[in-house]
């Protein structure tokens, strides 16, 4: 059962929403650092995807997190953007290998995978905090939040990916 990619994706979808809204949204480290770990959904999603379905699923993921955290449509914007730019990021990070049908994460080096994760997190945080605060007067606050929150998200995502890594991955 756990080999069926659709079931795995659904389980991941539900768990990531719950983990995000029940644990990481209440972390408030130093008063404002709440890592946005749902970015892992975009890291773990199957590589050969139907893009339209991926964008729709991402929209739902973002919208659910928004409803829970009362930030209407902010996470939804971030999620659909991540889903939309993911193929370009993958081509950028994994190079020509990515175009082969046989490409999996196994073929990629650790550095390539970390770069991919880092870029996803960077786009997510820049977009999220700029839209959330939405004011040029608070540019320093935005930069501070982007810097520290993306750093903490990055650390936690690295930990989670190694924790849940498959044997053969």
């Amino acid at each position: 059962m756990l080999s069926n990619p659709i079931i795995v994706t659904i389980v991941r979808f539900v768990l990531l929403i719950l983990v995000q809204v029940l644990i990481f949204n209440n972390l408030n480290f130093f008063g404002y650092i709440n890592p946005l770990v749902y970015v892992l959904f975009f890291y773990w999603y199957p590589i050969r995807e139907n893009r339209a379905a991926f964008i729709t699923v991402s929209f739902l993921l973002g919208l659910f997190i928004d409803i829970f955290s009362d930030t209407l449509a902010l996470h939804a914007i971030v999620s659909i953007t991540l889903a939309y730019v993911r193929p370009f990021l993958m081509r950028f990070c994994f190079g020509a290998n990515f175009d082969f049908q046989a490409f999996t994460f196994k073929n990629a080096t650790r550095l390539q995978r970390i770069t991919f994760l880092f870029l996803l997190i960077l786009i997510q945080h820049v977009l999220f905090f700029s839209l959330e605060i939405w004011s040029f007067a608070h540019i320093l606050l935005i930069l501070k939040k982007i810097l520290f929150t993306s750093f903490s998200t990055f650390l936690i995502c690295i930990l989670l990916t190694s924790l849940f890594a498959k044997e053969n991955d």
Partner: protein, 271 residues
Amino acid sequence: MQRIINFILNYRNSVLYFFLLIVSLTFTIRSHSYHQSYFFNSSKWFTGSVYNVSSNITSYFNLEEENQRLSEENEKLRNQLFNTSTISDSIKYLRVDFEVVHARIVKNSYASPRNYITIDKGDKDGISQDMGVITTKGILGIVENTSANFATVQSILNTKSTINAKIKNTNYFGSLKWDAKNFNVVQLIDIPRLVPLTVGDTIVTGSMSSIFPENIPIGVIKKYNLNQAQSSYNIDVTLFNNMANLKNVYIVKNKNRKEVLELEKTTLNAE
């Protein structure tokens, strides 16, 4: 026509992306200036129940501290009660303007610029929009959306929030705002320049609002300076509440609010 359809089919992913993007952006930008969305908020049955389960589990962790806070409040109220003579006589003739309902926070938030708090009382308990929410120590916010069993509260830590406040024992009032920077400090603006201020003065709710009763404590003055036009003060107020650690709250219903609003409306229309 054929070409247009082919074009859309070729770029269907981008079309889908930009469509969803525009929908989401509209929602987001609207919620920056208007009220929170009525349909998508955490007071709804599903989100409320999830938060309720989670809060039932985590509420045990700071039970002791919460008990301490509540018995401190009881102590204060008992002091008032024992030192007010002839209370039993006067209470019969007292007009009841405000009614208080207690509730528990199931989701707190203070790290974002627009914070909403979810509480476990809703329509069933007579809670409706624009009721004031306070804690044992001071004000917390205003009810924004309700469902049958839950309600969302617009926290004072919300850049959209504006609350009438004044300096204790005077009648100089201004508006309480938040600049999104520090969750312990809010800003009081529009206090005229001629008002004598001292660091440490207490700020309480004013009488201009039909939501909160007068003289609910808010915080103390941390520092103050004149605004750019040199005409009024911008005051930083340190809150009495520790916004990061809240559990029990009271919702204040103003029984006269409807009457006050109607009267104000007729007066405006008559002009």
